[in-house]
């Protein structure tokens, strides 16, 4: 005889799901604390209201019952607002691992047919790169301030371009143009097998050698590009921003560099000349070295002091 022993206790008749429960607590005890985040309590009343705003926002961009909303967020209040807001709409939440990279993100977004993705701002370059292959993905909503850039004297070159808005008509075109300028720079530095498909990364095989993102503020476009000249040893950085050892290699995407591909790290003069040449040719302009003006220097000092302000 086979015995089936079960844990004692009967199921009660509470048939409430997450949305109904939160709405009930928000109405019966709105001041009770639902979430505690970095010293700040968020009450059931506030949680319900913010989830309502997300539901309205999602509805506003066309999300309806049954649509998938992908969520790539860590345990921050925005995760909870988005999850509850999505469920309030009758839509389907697709939360996924924030450690996932290019190919994995592409698989999940494609397979689920997500219409909207809510993610951290720092994932923008990665999402950008796979976005053209995701016809179902209509909107990307970004939150949080978790950008992380590692810079190393031997390994990294930062190339940035500030363009007044009247010079840029469409972002797709801008991504295409800047991507090809960076591709030319990398190839001119000797990496002949480098390729660029769309949006964001110059690659050699599947590995990243340069990456960029275009941002906008009040009509001005800012291109932030990072090129790897020599292998980037990320170990020191990952001791500072704590990551469990077993997932360390997942935090950083597979990278390569000019030195790894050609056997030689290009000197700064060569990087400078190559970059100037590529930008002058692509934009049919002449680049002339000149320092910042007085107003800019004032802003520069202000931003530096903010950046180094101890917290």
């Amino acid at each position: 005889m086979r015995k089936t022993i079960r844990m004692s206790g009967e199921l009660n008749e509470n048939n409430r799901g997450l949305v109904q429960s939160i709405e009930r607590w928000a109405s019966s005890s709105p001041d009770s604390v639902a979430l505690q985040f970095e010293g700040e309590p968020i009450t059931y009343g506030e949680l319900n209201l913010r989830a309502n705003r997300v539901a309205n926002g999602l509805q506003g961009v066309g999300v309806a019952k049954g649509d998938r909303v992908a969520i790539m967020l860590p345990n921050i209040p925005e995760f909870v607002y988005t999850l509850v807001g999505t469920l309030k709409l009758g839509a389907v939440a697709v939360p996924f691992n924030t450690l996932y990279k290019g190919g994995e993100i592409l698989h999940i977004l494609k397979d689920s047919g997500a219409k909207v993705l809510v993610a951290l701002t720092n994932f923008a370059p990665m999402i950008n790169e796979v976005r053209p292959e995701l016809p179902d993905l209509e909107q990307v909503i970004l939150t949080g301030e978790r950008n992380l850039v590692f810079g190393h004297p031997q390994s990294t070159a930062f190339i940035q371009l500030i363009l007044p808005g009247d010079l840029v008509d469409d972002i797709d075109g801008a991504y295409n143009k800047i991507g090809h300028v960076l591709l030319e720079i990398v190839r001119d530095l000797g990496v002949k097998e480098a390729w660029y498909k769309h949006r964001g990364s110059i690659r050699v095989r599947g590995d990243k050698i340069a990456t960029f993102v275009i941002s906008e503020v009040e009509g001005i476009a800012l291109v932030n590009a990072l090129t790897f000249l020599a292998p980037l040893d990320t170990r020191d950085f990952l001791r500072i921003v704590w990551v469990p050892p077993e997932v360390r290699d997942k935090v950083v995407e597979p990278l390569t560099s000019v030195e790894q591909e050609t056997g030689k790290r290009p000197p700064w003069d060569q990087v400078k000349e190559t970059a100037i040449g590529a930008f002058e040719k692509a934009f049919e302009v002449e680049l002339k070295e000149s320092p910042m003006v007085r107003d800019e220097l004032f802003g520069y000092e202000k931003l530096r002091s903010l950046a180094y302000k101890t917290r």
């Binding site: 015995k3 199921l11 505690q36 995760f79 469920l87 190919g103 801008a174 295409n176 921003v241």
Partner: protein
């Protein structure tokens, strides 16, 4: 692509270059930031700088991290490793944002506070969760509203959460364990969920010390890290925690006792899957806890041990663990074949091999797909892993099968605590295992690839593993 400049001007326009090969990490943000600010101001001041583009090329004179305002940085470690740390200013409304995206905070400011929730049926989908896939490609597990409601009721008997409870939210909510047994659990019962956005042992300890939680749901590595840290810092845990739950992987018996002694809490081990909305089986809080057992099925779930033909097996006999109940997924998203394969007469086949004892307690012995077949014998990787782990110089071990022609070989991956040779490991195995179970090869690794819940990702140890993080050209 329309760059208006082409049609507007014939003569070559002059753009500015700023070249700074010896910059520091703050310059990476401050220099272009100042130029952007200058251009915005220039519009109002009609300054000449507002016209052309500016190209900035920068290199660094020392190592640096440029971090967003929400990144937690260990400043002591930064100074020890000579890394400069700069923060990006917190962006406000109308601040810099990646092109063609919506800013969450702006959306929240614009939207209305009121919303009437759309009615749903119990069978409607609430979530699709992708299995972490320790083998194969992630599959979308469909979970309905009914699944979540049922799981909520099932776990009440173990955790008995009330509005007075404070639950530690350290497990990631994108994973079923954190989503269901932490976030849902806390909010459904009107409790408080304490969010830990970035796990580190120090963060977890600080959160416990600051907030005095009453419930903690975590994975074995977190308990182990926490114990090590308590020992090192010579601090005591507050006696606020009533119950701790550990899942996803087994926790050594001594560890359970040590943790219970130092926290005063009861630590229960349980078992669950994404397909069962997390926990479906646990050691009872008010009954006998059996070490090494995953416990008894939770109310609302039925479990059985099936033979390859789908027939129930008597206690003590090993077979595949099967589950059924309202908490079980209706199947995989857009994968009818996989769904069909995973169910047999209403039972969900977990893919875990195990048995049940005479008291009805369940035990997991292996993953079905990981069983190695060598020379006609079935070899349990877990058995070999346990022998390896018992060696004092071995920290972690993972055993996989590797095809060699028609045969399958046993390959062991180990991380060592100190000096250790492959021969010593082999000799240790030969003492404890039959000769056909002794690994054919020992591979030393610095770390083993793990999922967020601390499971070794065996697919990444296989020779033909394709790194899915890469984006390929075709």
């Amino acid at each position: 692509m329309k760059w208006k400049i082409f049609s507007r001007k014939k003569r070559k326009e002059q753009w500015r270059l700023i070249f700074k090969p010896q910059a520091d990490i703050a310059d990476v943000m401050a220099l272009p930031g100042a130029v952007v600010e200058g251009q915005i101001a220039g519009r109002y001041l009609l300054s000449s700088m507002a016209s052309g583009g500016t190209l900035v090329i920068q290199g660094l004179s020392k190592k640096g991290i440029l971090a967003g305002a929400d990144v937690a940085v260990d400043f002591q470690a930064a100074s020890e490793h000579d890394v400069d740390v700069a923060f990006q200013p917190r962006s406000g409304r109308a601040s810099l944002r990646p092109a063609e995206t919506i800013n969450f905070e702006e959306m929240m400011l614009q939207e209305d506070d009121a919303f009437v929730s759309v009615a749903t049926e119990p069978e409607d989908l609430a979530c699709i969760l992708y299995t972490s896939g320790t083998t194969g490609r992630p599959k979308g597990v469909q979970l309905t509203h009914k699944n979540f409601v049922s799981e909520g009721k099932s776990t009440e008997h173990v955790l008995d959460c009330t509005p007075k409870d404070k639950v530690i939210g350290v497990l990631p909510f994108f994973h079923v364990f954190g989503l269901s047994n932490v976030l849902h659990l806390g909010l459904i019962h009107g409790g408080t969920v304490i969010l830990v956005p970035q796990y580190s042992p120090a963060n977890l300890l600080k959160t416990i010390m600051d907030h005095h939680p009453t419930l903690m749901v975590a994975i074995p590595t977190m308990y182990v890290h926490l114990l090590t840290l308590l020992e090192r810092k010579k601090v005591q845990l507050p006696r606020s925690i009533r119950i701790c739950v550990s899942g996803a992987a087994p926790l050594p018996k001594e560890m359970i006792q040590t943790f219970e002694d130092c926290s005063g809490a009861q630590l229960l081990e349980g078992y669950g899957l994404t397909e069962t909305v997390a926990a479906c089986c646990a050691n009872p809080p008010d009954g006998i806890c059996k070490a090494g057992s995953i416990g008894l099925p939770l109310p609302g779930f039925e479990m059985d041990i099936l033979d390859p033909d789908g027939k129930g097996l008597p206690s003590g006999k090993q077979g595949e663990i099967a589950v059924r109940g309202d908490g079980v997924t209706p199947g995989y998203f857009r994968l009818p074949e996989d769904t069909k394969e995973a169910f047999r007469e209403g039972w969900f086949l977990t893919g875990d091999i195990g048995y049940r004892d005479d008291d009805g307690y369940f035990y997991v012995t292996d993953r079905k797909k990981e069983i190695i077949i060598k020379g006609g014998f079935n070899i349990s990787p877990r058995e070999v892993e346990e022998v390896l782990s018992s060696h004092p110089a071995i920290k972690e071990a993972a055993v996989i099968g590797r095809k060699k022609g028609e045969r399958e070989e046993i390959v062991a991956f180990v991380t060592a605590k100190g000096e250790l040779t492959a021969k010593e490991v082999m000799d240790h195995c030969k003492e404890a295992l039959s000769s056909f179970k002794v690994p054919d090869e020992i591979c030393f690794r610095k770390v083993l690839p793990m999922s967020v819940t601390g499971k070794v990702l065996k697919k990444e140890l296989a020779e033909d593993y394709q790194d899915e993080r890469r984006i390929e050209r075709k």
